[in-house]
């Protein structure tokens, strides 16, 4: 019967609601931790980049543009990332693992020192230092972005269940129960009426002037 179906649906909705709520809370907890880290690491990266860019500007001021271009034309070192996926509360977060092309990660200077100034060395060094952090930033920021999306979705689902689906089911159940009760009552009254009519026919109470009980 429809009532049983709806009661079943309501039970499922309630359970789903509880589960989703738990998911949302846990996601939120992790997200807030991650976002704090994100902000901090971003500040560090931005500061580091500013320094690196300042060194680069010094180098650019003291050297000719062609010399810098030639010096950096063929980079010795190359950074790759290995992408792994980590499943956090059914959100797939990427993990970036840094891999260097050559074995020695400090092997960063792609030029001889004869025609360049130390400013360029400093710039290259600071860029190399900041690069690792930047990849870390990329990983965390992507994770934050994905998690924010997931939290938003989960929150919508929780609210939809809580404020729309569950009240609707409850209303329907109440309506059906009342209708059934009403039917039952009217059936009882009808029976009582029929019974009294039959008794009336058999015993002829009214003719004997007796009261119906």
């Amino acid at each position: 019967m429809e009532l049983i179906n709806i009661k079943r649906k309501l039970a499922t909705a309630r359970r789903g609601h509880r589960l989703l709520k738990d998911k949302r809370d846990e996601l939120m907890r992790r997200f807030l931790i991650l976002v704090r880290e994100n902000k901090q690491i971003r500040r560090e990266v931005e500061k580091g980049l500013k320094e690196a860019q300042a060194h680069m500007a010094f180098a650019g001021a003291s050297l000719k543009e062609e010399i810098i271009n030639t010096a950096l034309m063929l980079p010795k070192q190359e950074i790759f990332v290995d992408v792994k996926q980590q499943n956090v509360m059914s959100v797939l977060l990427p993990e970036f693992d840094i891999k260097y092309k050559s074995g020695d990660e400090n092997d960063i200077y792609s030029y001889g020192y004869a025609f360049t100034s130390s400013d360029l060395d400093m710039a290259v060094k600071s860029y190399a230092d900041i690069a690792v952090k930047m990849v870390k930033l990329a990983e965390i920021e992507k994770a934050c972005s994905l998690m924010a999306g997931e939290i938003e979705k989960t929150r919508r689902r929780v609210n939809a269940l809580e404020y729309i689906m569950i009240p609707q089911y409850e209303d329907t159940i109440r309506f059906i129960t009342m209708k059934l009760d009403e039917n039952e009552r009217s059936a009882t009254t009808r029976l009582m009426k029929v019974k009294s009519m039959m008794l009336e026919k058999v015993h002829r109470y009214s003719e004997r002037g007796e009261q119906l009980d």
Binding site: A52, N69, V81, I108, M134, V135, A138, E141, C144, G149
Partner: protein, 103 residues
């Protein structure tokens, strides 16, 4: 094996060439859009882009927002920094919580 790219005006990104990021210099929004699309299709996991340039093409940022790769990350350039990077992180919080509660 995925690679890392840096996109932006020339002054801001030449330095990244030294550490082995692939650099693509442009000032133009349309061109940047093309670069990002081709990078996304060719094994780039991380794309660093200057704040200034990214603000010209927010729709490209949104397009890859829900995908695990590539990660498009705004970085400050040499000039015209707006603090968009941090503002953007605040946006995540706003999206998840409803308002930016972390300072």
């Amino acid at each position: 094996m995925y690679k890392i790219a840096a996109v932006g005006d020339r002054d801001s990104i030449t330095g990244f060439a030294s550490v082995g990021f692939s650099t693509f210099s442009t000032d133009d929004a349309v061109e940047a859009k093309k670069i990002i699309r081709s990078l996304a299709n060719s094994q780039y996991a991380v794309i660093f882009i200057t704040e200034k340039l990214l603000q010209l093409i927010p729709e490209e940022y949104d397009r890859y927002k829900e995908l695990p790769v590539p990660a498009i990350i705004p970085i400050p350039g040499v000039t015209e920094n707006t603090g968009f990077g941090l503002y953007n992180v605040g946006k995540f919080v706003e999206r998840a919580v409803g308002s930016d509660i972390i300072n």
